[in-house]
């Protein structure tokens, strides 16, 4: 197998991690919606924490994407 083909396979394998990230982000927003539905007054308190959680989980997605790009273009 030449290096070019191995790069493409490696990059494809690296994005498997995004499965867990999709689950995580869906989890965050589902809990956010449930908690606001139970107690609409808490929206302003809960929403920033939800966004913080989203950004931190997104960071893990980008770690995986970073590895994929490093394999493809590095």
């Amino acid at each position: 197998m030449d290096a070019e083909a191995a790069k493409f396979i490696g990059a494809g394998l690296a994005v498997f991690a995004l499965f867990g990230v999709g689950l995580g982000i869906g989890n965050i927003f589902s809990t956010l919606i449930s908690s606001v539905a139970r107690n609409p007054a808490s929206r302003d308190q809960v929403f920033p924490i939800g966004i913080l959680g989203f950004a931190l989980t997104e960071a893990v997605a980008l770690f995986a994407l970073l590895i994929a790009f490093l394999i493809l273009f590095g």
Partner: protein, 248 residues
């Protein structure tokens, strides 16, 4: 035609300045850092120049920005962190303007280089560590032994806590760098799809509308991510300051 990686190339603009083997010439990264810093200073000074009691648009915008970060410091770093507000505000403005300037076409995103974000994260890490050591002396190391944990588990817990403490600048820097680099690379890749689909002829032109629409959505998403990453960097800085000041 350039691929998606050429946008991150650092190009020298001014005269070559080589001091002791280090290339210190003015380049596009430095140019945009100067632009971001100047823009931040001019924005705040111009906004507050006419101190009206009922603020106009620019003063209102600067006041909202101030109150946003002041509220964040108050809520997340604690009341004793008030003297460190200028540091947090400067970090936020620099990173926010750096990210946002990169969204303008043909500009350079200086936060998309790991060395820049690593320098910013190490500044925060060293600042917070020195703050904790100066305030608490050697008692600062009780940070690594959480309160309720049984002392028998200390040989396991303390190395894990130390490792996670040292992973803070790493995660802080890689989060910002990876978001910026991956986002901008995605934008260029989808733009490349549009161009290569047009090259296929008439049917390709109609099909090329899809990547353009995706690119519009991605640009909007990238602007959101630019703001979000500056917010996350700043709020984590506030949390680390609180950890250093209150030790639990």
């Amino acid at each position: 035609m350039a691929g998606p990686i050429e946008q991150f190339e650092v190009k020298t603009i001014g005269p070559q300045i080589n001091i002791g083997g280090l290339d210190l010439s003015f380049n596009n990264s430095a140019l945009f850092m100067v632009v971001a810093a100047t823009l931040a200073v001019v924005l705040v000074l111009a906004g507050m120049s006419r101190r009206e009691l009922v603020p106009g648009r620019l003063q209102s915008f600067v006041e909202m920005l101030y109150e946003f970060i002041a509220g964040m410091v108050r809520d997340n770093a604690g009341a004793q962190a008030r003297p460190y507000f200028p540091f947090v505000f400067t970090m936020f403005m620099f990173i926010l303007l750096g990210n946002m300037l990169g969204m303008i076409p043909f500009t350079f995103t200086f936060t998309s280089h790991i060395i820049v974000t690593f320098a910013l994260a190490m500044t925060v890490f060293v600042f917070v560590t020195v703050l904790g050591l100066v305030k608490h002396g050697l008692h600062f190391f009780s940070l690594f032994m959480p309160h309720g944990a049984p002392p028998l588990l200390a040989p396991i817990i303390i190395p894990i806590e130390v490792l996670s403490y040292f992973s803070r600048p790493v995660s802080l820097s890689i989060r910002l760098f990876a978001n910026m680099m991956a986002g901008h690379t995605m934008l260029k890749v989808f733009a490349g799809f549009s161009v290569s689909l047009i090259g296929l002829g008439a049917a390709g032109v109609l099909g090329a509308i899809v990547p353009v629409i995706i690119n519009i959505g991605l640009t909007a998403f990238e602007i959101l991510v630019a703001f979000l990453q500056a917010y996350v960097f700043t709020i984590l800085t506030c949390l680390y300051i609180r950890d250093a000041l209150e030790l639990h």
